[in-house]
Symmetry: C2
DNA sequence: ACCTGAACACCGTTCAAGT
DNA sequence: ACCTGAACACCGTTCAAGT
C-alpha cells in the first residue's frame, strides 16, 4: 500500500528512520478507504497495510476517532474553495461544486464523515467563502447563515444520497410487498421509477440555483425578482469532475 | 427494558409462549437506541436486555443490518405524512415537518439511518405525498423529482446537522490553531459564532419556503412570481414538536 | 521517543445441539 | 419452529516491556 519509500530527509545523522508519521498514516488510510470502503478502515488493517503493529498508530493519533477525523480533515482541507469569480453567485457555485466533487472522488468519505460526531475543522472553509460572498450581495447576519445552512445541508444530503445509489430500493415490487404505502398508493413513485437514468449533476445545479435565487439579498429585495426566470433554471457550466 | 408482559393471546392452547417476536425485539431496540445511542445498539446488548441468547435474535432477523433497517422502517413507517390541507404547499410543509420531527424525536436514529446502505422502504411515503402535491401544482416528471430531491436532501441534511449539535466545533480558538483557514481568514465565521442561540425551527422553515418558492410550478411560470415576497420569509405555523 | 506482543473486553455470526 | 452454548474471526485499546 503506497509503496513510496519515505526518504528521511531532515538532519541526516540522527533522527532514526521512524517507521511512521501522521502524513504517511493518513495517506495509507485514504487509499485503504478508497479501495475497500469505510468498514475496512480499522486500526488493525491499516497497521497491517503499513507493516506495523496496531499499537504503533497510537503514537500518532489519540484514538480511532481522532484518526478518522484527521482523514476527513485531510480530504476536505486540501481543496481550494475560494475562487476569483466576480459574480458572488459563481463564487458560491464554485465552492459547493468543489465540496461535492472532493467527496464524490472518495465515496467512502461520505459514511466516514457521517460517522464523525465532531465535524473536521476544514468544513469551515466553505462556510467562510459563502458568508463572504453573501456579504458582497448585501446579506449578513442570521439570514446569511440560513442561506449557508441551506446550501451546505442540501449539498451534503445530495452527496450522501448520490453515493449510496439512489434508487437501489425503488423497486416497485418491493414497495408493493410492504404495506407502508397503503393509504395513498404510490402511483407517483411508480411513474418516477421510469426515469432509469437520473442526472445528478443537473439536480445539483438546480438545487444550487434555487437556493441562490431564494436568498433574500439586497438585489432580490430591490428589483422585484426581475431575473427570477433566468436564475431559476440555468444549469451553468458543467460541474467539476475528477480524473 | 419495556417490561410489558406480552400476553400470548392468539389460539389459547398451543402456541407455546415464545420468548420473542419481531415487534417485541424492535420496540426494545428503539428504547435501547433512545437511551444509550446508536453505538449501544448491538446484537449482544439487545439480547441481554431481552434476557435471551444473542443467537435468538437471528430467528427473527437475517442479520444486524436487517435489524437496523427494520428499526428505521418502524420509526418512519408509523408516522402519517399525508394531510388534508387544501394548499399543496401546506401539504408539503406538513410532510417534511413530520419527517424532521420523527427523527428528532429519536436523535440516535440519524446516525442509524446514515449507517444503512439501503434506505428503509418507508421513506417513499414522503416521496409519494410530495410528488402528488407537486402534481396538483402542475409540476410533474423530472422537475418534480428534482424538487422532491431538494426537499428531502435538505431536510435530512439539516436534521443530521441539528442532532449533532451544530457549533460544537465552531470554537474560534480551535479554528485559529489549525492552519486551514489561512488564505481567506475566517472573520465571517467569527462574526457568525456570536449567534449563540441558533433557531433551527426558523432555519428549517426558511429552507422549506425557499425550496417551495423556487419550484417551477405552473403558477410560478404564469404569474411572474407575484407572491415571491410573501412566500419567501413566512415562518408559518410552529413546527410539530414531540412531547 | 517510538514501537512491540500479549492480553482484555468487546463485536457479529456459524455451527451443532437441544426442545 | 425456536432457542442455547461454545466457538471463530474479528474489533479498539491498556499495559508492561523493549530500544
Amino acid at each position: 500500500m503506497t509503496s513510496k519509500p519515505r526518504e528521511t530527509r531532515r538532519s541526516r545523522g540522527r533522527p532514526r528512520d521512524r517507521a511512521l508519521d501522521r502524513e504517511h498514516v493518513l495517506s495509507a488510510a485514504v487509499t485503504l478507504l478508497d479501495r475497500e470502503g469505510p468498514d475496512a478502515l480499522t486500526m488493525r488493517r491499516l497497521a497491517a497495510g503499513l507493516q506495523v503493529s496496531p499499537m504503533a498508530l497510537y503514537n500518532h493519533f489519540d484514538s480511532k476517532k481522532d484518526l478518522l477525523r484527521s482523514v476527513a480533515e485531510q480530504l476536505v482541507g486540501q481543496t481550494q474553495f475560494s475562487s476569483g469569480h466576480e459574480d458572488w453567485r459563481e463564487r458560491i457555485r464554485f465552492c459547493f461544486r468543489r465540496l461535492r466533487s472532493v467527496i464524490l472522488a472518495h465515496p467512502g468519505a461520505v459514511r466516514l464523515m457521517e460517522s464523525l460526531e465532531q465535524a473536521p475543522l476544514a468544513v469551515f472553509s466553505p462556510m467562510e467563502v459563502t458568508l463572504a460572498a453573501l456579504e458582497t450581495a448585501g446579506l449578513t447576519g442570521e439570514p446569511a447563515l440560513r442561506s449557508y445552512f441551506l446550501l451546505t445541508n442540501f449539498t451534503m444530503g445530495q452527496v450522501s444520497y448520490e453515493v449510496r445509489g439512489p434508487f437501489k430500493a425503488l423497486d416497485p415490487a418491493r414497495a408493493l410487498a410492504s404495506g407502508h404505502l397503503r393509504g395513498e398508493g404510490f402511483c407517483h413513485i411508480e411513474a418516477a421509477a421510469q426515469f432509469e437514468h437520473w442526472d445528478f449533476d443537473a439536480a445539483f445545479e438546480f438545487g444550487l440555483s434555487t437556493i441562490i435565487a431564494g436568498s433574500p439579498t439586497d438585489h432580490a429585495l430591490r428589483k422585484n425578482s426581475s431575473n427570477l426566470q433566468s436564475t431559476q433554471f440555468p444549469i451553468g457550466p458543467t460541474p467539476i469532475r475528477f480524473a
